[in-house]
């Protein structure tokens, strides 16, 4: 294998004829040298990084995308916070990822309590555990003030964090029947969840 002197030789191995002008130095001599213009590339990267930094979310994943679930659209911009999640898709009702019942069976059930018993059991157990954690001060420090306010029956202002005691998220499909939502709200209220966060998609 012949030994060449050091230096750029891109043009020799790959003939980028269309990239060099005929009258240019590269076309005239065999010692042609191509310089790749990196400016547009750096520009594009800078714009992309800026855009991605703007949409970057540091709050972490609060909700999981579900098959058969299109969230309703709203103008509200209040951010979600960590809480037990009740998910209602087009076919199923799940709590913290575990199947509770099917939508069809709940809509068919005309029990006078207007509650979903399987969901009530889970929510009741969760509510007791959260209440105990809050009483023992096990919640994150930034929620202490919110829990103090809740004890004094002071409603949090818009955008303020809410005490996790009695807080749950409802992530339901936009086409869900209102009767089902009523039953879930009844069940949550009966289990001690007085604050519900309805997850919505921003316009």
């Amino acid at each position: 294998m012949p030994v060449h002197s050091a230096g750029p030789r891109l043009y020799r191995s790959v003939k980028f004829k269309h990239l060099v002008r005929e009258s240019g130095s590269a076309a005239g001599s065999r010692n042609s040298n191509i310089s790749l213009n990196l400016t547009p590339f750096v520009d594009m990267m800078t714009i992309l990084v800026t855009f991605l930094l703007m949409v970057f979310s540091s709050t972490g994943q609060l909700l999981e995308a579900q098959k058969g679930l299109d969230l309703p659209i709203a103008e509200s911009r209040e951010t979600l916070q960590q809480a037990p999640v009740i998910i209602v898709t087009k076919s199923d009702i799940t709590y913290q990822g575990q199947l509770i019942a099917t939508v069809e069976s709940v809509l068919r059930d005309d029990s006078p309590t207007f509650k979903i018993d399987a969901l009530f059991e889970r929510l009741d157990a969760a509510a007791k555990k959260i209440k105990e954690d809050v009483a023992n001060g096990k919640q994150p420090r930034d929620l202490n003030a919110a829990c103090e306010k809740a004890k004094n029956n002071i409603r949090p202002a818009r955008g303020e964090v809410i005490c996790p005691d009695g807080l749950a998220i409802l992530q339901a499909d936009e086409s869900t029947d209102a009767r089902l939502i009523n039953k879930i709200v009844n069940t949550a209220k009966a289990a001690g969840f007085d604050n519900l966060l309805f997850a919505v998609k921003n316009k």
């Binding site: 990196l38 979310s57 969230l71 309703p72 499909d173 029947d177 009523n182 519900l196």
Partner: protein, 172 residues
């Protein structure tokens, strides 16, 4: 690879800026941000379960002051005041789309917000219920839309009630 600055005549200072580390950093940052990017913006509407059937404290409260109640049905929206028993009927728009008349609903709520009953800045409560049946279902999106408009108008303390538990319910 480098970018030169100030290439000039003999004797002038020619600085070559090595941009390879910069491009490396940008590439890593772009890859990281693309992987962790959130493409769907999810927000929340905070509500309290309300209504006479759910909240016993409200029965007493209803006797003390006027409550603004909204009943969403598949073909219309009722807006009413308890004790006064004054109701406004907002029928669905006519036409091929046949959507609820949200503009009129918003205007009605604005009107109530500026009325004498709600001049106290602490009075920003409102209750919403949806009456859905198998024959005439009401979708969750409609409830959310009604709540969203209520919050936008200034009724930040939105409660979700069942139709039987509304403080003001139109006699149909």
């Amino acid at each position: 690879m480098s970018a030169s600055i100030g290439a000039g005549e003999k004797g002038s200072v020619n600085v070559e800026l090595n941009i390879v580390p910069f491009i490396d950093l940008m590439s890593c940052l772009t890859a990281f941000l693309l992987v962790t990017a959130v493409w769907v913006n999810i927000a929340q509407i905070n509500i309290q379960p309300k209504g006479k059937t759910r909240d016993q404290a409200q029965v007493q409260q209803d006797d003390e002051h006027v409550t603004l109640s909204v009943l969403v049905q598949s073909d219309r929206i009722w807006v009413g005041l308890s004790r006064v028993n004054e109701f406004q009927d907002i029928p669905k728009k006519t036409g091929p789309e046949g959507d609820q008349d949200w503009e009129k609903f918003e205007a009605t709520l604005k009107e109530h917000k500026t009325s004498a009953f709600f001049t106290n800045p602490e009075r920003n409560d409102l209750e919403i219920a949806a009456e859905s049946t198998t024959a005439a279902p009401v979708k969750y999106q409609d409830i959310i839309h009604a709540m969203d408009i209520a919050v936008k108008v200034g009724f930040t303390d939105v409660g979700l009630s069942d139709p039987q538990g509304l403080a003001a319910r139109p006699s149909l």
